[in-house]
Amino acid sequence: MDNIVLEVKNITKDYGDFKLDNVSFSVPRGTVCGFIGQNGAGKTTTIQLILDAITRDSGEIILFGQEVIPGRSHTLREDIGVVFDEMGFHEFLTPAQLDEIMKRIYKNWNSETYFGYLKRFSLPSKKRCGNFSRGMRMKLQIAVALSHGARFLIMDEPTSGLDPIVRNEMIQIFREFVVEEDHTILLSSHITGDLEKIADEVVFIDGGKIVLAGNKDEILEKHAIIKCKKEDADRVSNSLVVDKEISSFGAEMLVNDRDVCEKLYPGMVIEPATLEEIMIHYVNRAKSHSGRAE
């Protein structure tokens, strides 16, 4: 258990029009865990539950080996750095004023580290953050998140809306953070390309349910895309097919056991699947299942 930073067990949150249903997954220490899913899949709700920002209906969350008790676990947030998709700081505040505020909130706030990050990210300390670009705003959030000795970074869509150069720069910063043995990241994103670069683990959520969870490389190795003629598509066993798309040009399907498929269907084109393809096909399957149910 010491190797697990976060353990989410059967958590449920019902809003009436959306339900986070029996969600379970864990994040091992020293890893980057990609939390993927389309918009509205339940990523942010899960993060809010982990942070105890909202109250769960049922289930259990264990953070740093301690149970998160609704309304009473705020002290655990001393060790968590959080980065959101939007800045969240008032536009009239300057980074220097943020230092004054944060050092009165975090016990382990380190102004030297904070100003070091500001310098590294070329962020002016006396300029209002309302004048910052989107990339600068995200960097400011990261500077704050990394300046109070956090062991666990939780990031909710931090790279969305950023240009590829800044995204790459941020991924580099995340890599540096996890170099330290006990540092862990939960990175929520629908930009799967970023996660393929950095994630060790992947948790895939859709419609409030966990669809896939595990080691990223294993998931990528296990899944594959088969491209074949329309008439050959039915030859592939339904138990192996996650989802298939048939068009006038042929068929494309995601299968869940690449090795078996290579042995059973040697004549077919079997290609590695990307996280994006895996995500899209699982979402399509869920849609077609719910369509059938209706």
């Binding site: 809010q48 909202i54 109250t55 008032h90 505040l93 009165r104 909130i105």
Partner: protein
């Protein structure tokens, strides 16, 4: 909590100019009134009326002067509530609620900070009014300090009550709804006053002629008498209401959809 208070101070610093102008205007009006009651037009009218046959109207002059002056003295307290709404809206505009939910602060502390800020702003308004009332007291006998300060306390209690309802609305329905909460607070108070004085209000609408004037005058003096002698109780009653509002706000925050 000190960090959040500092953040709110940075928010309010931009709005303090408006509040400062209100206080300055109040001070100027007070000084002008004092000069006028001693040597200016108010003193002249009073002297003329007092020497005429209609001495009853002359007796009304100090009373009306006190009402007008009291109205001005209540402005700093009224303006203080606007400051709280500014902070609420600023947090909403910046989406600061998300950041706040990730800070190592309990819901009790986060909500408590907002109520503490409300308390601080009202306390500062009381201090400003106390200084102005001392100024008035030093220059004339028009307004007894304790009686007048009780009116300020009563209005502080009313502000605290309305702000509590506004904060509850803000936490439940979002920052924009706070203004409706404030309005509801005012309506609740008006309804309470009407119910408490229903027979008097009924009489007010049935009497005619000079009796009506007397009735209105009686109402004014009755209200003034109540506020001057029992204003402190109005404020004291508002304190447990604000306390209950605080606990309810914490409860709402824990159950709200999305971060509050």
């Amino acid at each position: 909590m000190r960090g959040l208070l500092l953040k709110d101070y940075y928010c309010l610093r931009r709005k303090l100019f408006v509040w400062g102008v209100t206080v300055l205007a109040t001070t100027i009006v007070c000084v002008m009134f004092m000069i006028s009651t001693k040597t200016g037009n108010i003193a002249m009218i009073y002297d003329k009326m007092a020497n005429s046959e209609d001495s009853m109207d002359a007796a009304l002059i100090p009373f009306l002067t006190r009402i007008v002056l009291t109205m001005f003295l209540l402005l700093p307290v009224a303006a203080s509530f606007d400051l709280i709404q500014y902070v609420f809206m600023d947090d909403k505009t910046a989406s600061f609620y998300k950041v706040a939910s990730s800070l190592p602060l309990s819901r009790y502390r986060r909500v408590g900070e907002r109520y503490l800020l409300l308390g601080i702003v009202i306390a500062v308004s009381f201090a400003v009014d106390a200084v102005l009332l001392l100024l008035v007291k030093l220059t004339s006998d028009l307004m007894p300090f304790i009686d007048s300060f009780q009116i300020v306390l009563a209005f502080g209690g009313v502000s605290l009550f309305c702000a509590t309802i506004a904060l509850l609305f803000g936490y439940r329905f979002g920052a924009e709804a706070a203004i409706w909460g404030n309005l509801l607070g005012v309506i609740i108070l008006i309804v309470a006053v009407v119910i408490r004085n229903f027979s008097f209000i009924k009489e007010l609408f049935t009497v005619e002629g000079d009796d009506a004037t007397l009735c209105i005058l009686e109402g004014f003096t009755g209200a003034a008498d109540f506020l001057e002698h029992k204003g402190v109780f109005v404020f004291l009653v508002s304190l447990p209401i604000a306390g209950a509002g605080y606990l309810l706000s914490v409860w709402i925050m824990g159950r709200k959809r999305g971060v509050a």
